[in-house]
Symmetry: C2
Subunit: 565 residues, 2 copies
Amino acid sequence: MRRLAGTAAAAAALLLASPAYADGMIDNVNGITLDAEGKVVRFTGIVIDREGKVGKLLKRGDKRPRDKQLDWKRDGQGATLLPGMIDSHAHILPMGFAALSLDLSDTTSLAEAQAKIATYARENPARPWILGTGWNQERWGLGRFPTAAELDAAAGDKPVWLSRVDGHAGWANSAAMRAAGVTAGTAAPAGGRIEKAGSQPSGIFVDEAMMLVEKAVPAPLPRDRDNALMKAQQMLLANGVTTIADMGTSLDDWMALRRAGDTGQLRLRVLSYAAGTDVMQTIGGSGPTPWLYFDKLRLVGVKLWLDGALGSRGAALKAPYADAPGERGLQMLDETKLRNLISRASMDRYQIAGHAIGDAANAQLLGAIEELSGDFPGDLRWRIEHAQIIDPADIPRFARQGIIASMQPIHQTSDRTMAEARLGPDRLGGAYAWQSILRAGGRLAFGSDAPVETSNVFEGLYAAITRQGTDGQPAGGWHPAERLSREQALAAYTTGGAWAGFAEDRIGSLLPGHRADFILVDRDPLTVAPEALRQTKVSETWVGGYRQYPRDAAPAAATPAARRQ
Amino acid sequence: MRRLAGTAAAAAALLLASPAYADGMIDNVNGITLDAEGKVVRFTGIVIDREGKVGKLLKRGDKRPRDKQLDWKRDGQGATLLPGMIDSHAHILPMGFAALSLDLSDTTSLAEAQAKIATYARENPARPWILGTGWNQERWGLGRFPTAAELDAAAGDKPVWLSRVDGHAGWANSAAMRAAGVTAGTAAPAGGRIEKAGSQPSGIFVDEAMMLVEKAVPAPLPRDRDNALMKAQQMLLANGVTTIADMGTSLDDWMALRRAGDTGQLRLRVLSYAAGTDVMQTIGGSGPTPWLYFDKLRLVGVKLWLDGALGSRGAALKAPYADAPGERGLQMLDETKLRNLISRASMDRYQIAGHAIGDAANAQLLGAIEELSGDFPGDLRWRIEHAQIIDPADIPRFARQGIIASMQPIHQTSDRTMAEARLGPDRLGGAYAWQSILRAGGRLAFGSDAPVETSNVFEGLYAAITRQGTDGQPAGGWHPAERLSREQALAAYTTGGAWAGFAEDRIGSLLPGHRADFILVDRDPLTVAPEALRQTKVSETWVGGYRQYPRDAAPAAATPAARRQ
């Protein structure tokens, strides 16, 4: 019956060329979206057309479509309805791999860790290696590093490689060392250390010595990548993310995205930035791909790496590190190489997304953009990824070139004390300077950098409006002048992210004509207390007019599954 | 007006759920297609539905749809209409690269060749190297090899590398030798020779020494691959080929096919067989891809190489070569490796297409298939590519396992005298044994092996029914018992090719429900004299209900371009 009505309706729509024909509606919601100027638009009902786009937003008192004009109707029961969130900087395959690997961060003793390792090994017999992270011998109260033998006892002859909670040491069992060819005679490389038990390697490899084992870890198979992608997608949808900018897509990652798209399993949108210009060209040839799979996937541009990270003192600074006199970090690309890479991409209209964390790296990229933007006219939307530490004198340069600062609010709260140590008190004026960038006329797009940080957008929104950690520290917020309003923060996760990905005509807003990507949540992010905002629960996530989270085993009556793209 | 009628019609179709609604018609044709049993079906009109499929075949006297039921109508003016041809073994990117490189095979003097090289260099300034083929110093009457200096005179400082007509020697200029690091001190590898002019390399590299220069030739860029694909596609469509099985698709080839598909530029159908199991898995992951781009592209399986070629005595033979006592050719895969590769592919339902030319290689593959087919039940459609020299005792084995012999008729006429030399007179009973394979109950799929041979299907049909060269030799045909009937030959290029690619439900036949892939030609292949058949001219090629050759700059009235997929 519903189908027949729909068919007749479609026929009528064709005959009458009526563009406003309604297909489905969710009514009785606390609807919020932003327009292109960042102004809040509130509504109480949303009409979704047959293409999975927003047909109409209905305010209280607006006339609703009649039931017979609708294929389906849902009562939102007063839930808050927001645009689907756009995570403008994350790593989708690594997210999945991280989630599928063994996590020991909650273990409080070696015995507990051994039990967890044994269980994981038993439950994952097909994995050639057991990989994991999160162990911490100090938390275990062990007073020493664990040993290969203790790992052998838990996992037997299957190779195991587990990185310490800080990523600066790895724990291998005997099978892993054997596979890696590590023996008593193996020397540690510069910057690394092999712990010993007598004359033999004990199983612990520190810093650069970790590579001795890591090189033996087999590359994931295509089906492992498929699993990781499905896992990450599930996590993102559960967090209310409907679009992710995948920063540094490898060719293997891309193939996994295509397999998912080809088989109808890509359920969120991925804006892909290739890991370098070679991958970029191999995928796109002489330009970005078209939008694929009904706007689910597009190779938009290329990621370039200008420096390293602040924690490891790889971020390129204008002046030496406060806590490492004489060190200024790593400049990854010289001026010529940077210009060559930008030119190679921009001549074919690939978008540049340049990783720049330190003030010197940001200034270098700003300089190259200023120099080259005249050579490549038109709307190129230069992106600077992270843009964490900017010389305040350079902030106005973001506005002059219309540059997008693609930033991750949680990095600010995670990095706070470390950043203070690295830079000292006098060079923080342009650190995580969200409000200054906006005030100067720059653009913001917010993301998570998952799996480095959580992909929970509401944690990000909380950080953005408070500049406080989850512990509420520091009171009043860190450099509170850089806090954002709720509307500004929401824009950076929605309209700002869409703009940053050349997608503002289709996502980021729920104004009519945009893809019906939205989420239902249990509170109003514009009015609840900050701490409550952080604990927002996503109850449903819809992409292109289909509910993708939670996903029913059998399509619910309200889910027009027959039209699944 | 046409559009409005079409829209109303679609609406009516939806309302009435009428499946037979006609969209377009070509009437007044001499239509021929084969059914699944190989029986000829003749018709005079074809109705094409809105999905680009065959709606109906009309015989003389059948009632035609009324004009108002049609979006468009064409008078075929009595032309013969055949199913689009399926080339079951060719190499699409190499075809394009060959066509785009410099062809010196028509030059009759060194001076003429030099002039052609100079023109090509001038017209292709963006190419980093000039690559070409076809030169023959004997045809030029030169009495010696040409020199690097003579190439420098024509092309200057741009590297040039031209292979001789037989592929057994290459001619480099000074810039190419410089780029390759070839000096007076460079030693020729085993099996190769560097010609000298005094103590210096003269520019001519024979056999294995060709690699010294070839390794320096830059890999084609993605845009070069795109150009090659477009060129090959154009050639194939002009030859009436609407589907090609690409045998040995590299990952770079696949990316070019996807770029073409993504941008709507893939205008024929490609059944892809990956170049090895690694590429296969990288593309397909845990199984063949779905049909992509409205059945234009699918990764179906994997190509494996069991032996080499007959001409170079690489084909693996059961007994020594008649003209090289003691030599039996090359077995590329030992029994274990072959079974491992087959198992890895078959467990995920990838189709096996094994290159086997000599009788020993064919027997080896037959043995592996017989041993493993029980492990992988279901419809796997094992393919043997080339299947040129088969021990007559092995021919019944094709039928027992339902194996497809994927053969190239023109190889028979090209190879005839060479095959007689290699095998001697007594071992030709299973050589190019088309009719014996069919009679035993095996299946045939015909192809060209382009660019090794021409992709002209009518040359192939001529060879298949005559076993004579274009010179008519030998009179009566070579081993004429192996000639095919016209219907059998046509089946091998249509229904047989569709079966071989798991596509018999959609292509290869024009029975209703199949994709409307067809060609218009100037004569009836079932009735004209063999020599006339060979000279058949293709006037139009349609794929999925669209005319793709010739392609009008602006869509013709008869071409429903607005519906282009």
